[in-house]
Symmetry: C2
Subunit: 235 residues, 2 copies
């Protein structure tokens, strides 16, 4: 009786995580292969979770689904993350890192050779912010943030991260606009950008999305320029 139980009745229909950014498969007989494979499994579970959050929402993101998306057995997954909340914790941290990185990347494209803020530079930074809130990482994080409103455990996890993120986020903005002297006004401008972009992103405009977004960004650029001018007159 060979038993052959390894037919693997696991059904893993989605290989989403794998398609996005397949990490180089570690070679066996290498030193520390196990550790590397373990890390890759963890990573694919995190990516799968994000995919689930985007496609199914927080409530419908079950441990079984995550495992399927990641292409691992539920047992394996529970080995790396002993509970659902443990996965979420890891995802929150992962997104924290990822979002900051992506934001900085977008902002680094904006260089400001004249050392003074032109209308054009402001416009570019506004458009970068719009790109930013349309990234998957932003949407996935919002899903967690929204769920945390009524999930005490998740809130405990996400709250300190959120605080830290906002701080670093604002600091990054300050670094991108070093000539902007008046801090209070910079913060106000920052709020304007964030709130508007968030509101737009979460509105899922059903009609004329592109045109309306463009118009809003035009208005926003104008007011930001005004705020900047005033801010530097005062100094």
């Amino acid at each position: 009786m060979g038993m052959e139980k390894s037919i693997s009745n696991q059904d893993a229909p989605h290989s989403t995580a794998a398609t996005t950014a397949e990490k180089k498969r570690p070679q066996r007989n290498e030193k520390g292969w196990q550790a590397e494979k373990s890390a890759m499994t963890r990573w694919s579970i995190l990516e799968a979770t994000i995919q689930c959050l985007l496609e199914l929402g927080y409530a419908n993101t079950t441990t079984a689904l995550i495992a399927n998306y990641a292409g691992v057995s539920r047992g394996a997954m529970m080995h790396h993350f002993p509970s659902r909340m443990t996965v979420m914790r890891a995802v929150v941290d992962y997104l924290h890192m990822l979002r900051l990185q992506e934001y900085r990347e977008l902002m680094s494209d904006i260089d400001d050779p004249q050392r003074t803020l032109t209308h054009q530079v402001i416009r570019e930074s506004v458009e970068a912010a719009w790109q930013y809130v349309n990234l998957p990482s932003f949407l996935a994080y919002q899903e967690l943030l929204a769920a945390s409103r009524t999930d005490a455990e998740l809130r405990q996890v996400i709250e300190p991260v959120e605080k830290d993120f906002e701080k670093q986020f604002l600091d990054t903005a300050k670094a991108v606009f070093p000539h902007w002297q008046n801090l209070s006004r910079l913060e106000g401008a920052h709020d304007m950008v964030q709130f508007l972009m968030k509101g737009m992103a979460l509105s899922h405009m059903s009609v004329r999305k592109k045109a309306r977004a463009k118009r809003v960004m035009t208005y926003l650029t104008a007011i930001l320029y005004d705020i900047y001018q005033e801010a530097n007159l005062i100094d």
Copy 2:
């Protein structure tokens, strides 16, 4: 032995719905008592559902919880609403009506005797919009809207309502500002207000909420005034 069945072994820790707007208890032996009582039960279930959405979120709003909050048995509830989604459908319609009503009420406080938009009038309407997005009805609706992104059945229910709401919402704004001629710019201004307010409301600012909201509203008022001026110059 008056029977006083209202001892209600149901544990209904929250009497939220009752506190908000206790309808007059219908008197027995009145004509149509049953119909009235039935209507009141339905109403209290809707209010209870809204309360649940606010406190627990869509995913955690179970039929049993709703019944508890409403102070009815689950059986009674299933009599009036044969399924969970049926309740949600009714709540969506109820909120549709309620939100429009509340918005119009807030806007009706703004009268404009000079028949021309002053800075002050704009400021008041902005503040009304801020009040509006801080109403429970707004938050409850957002909860449903957010859930509908990943719940196909709910989306089918809420999508047409959402479309109709946006239309009526914009129409109301037009009615409040009849002197605002240039329609395109009015729509742009409307978008600015809605997106900003939504973004702020959903940001749950943890620090200096009041001051930041005030500052944002000041900026918003300024840009709206500018848009208005330009709009009327063009005409």
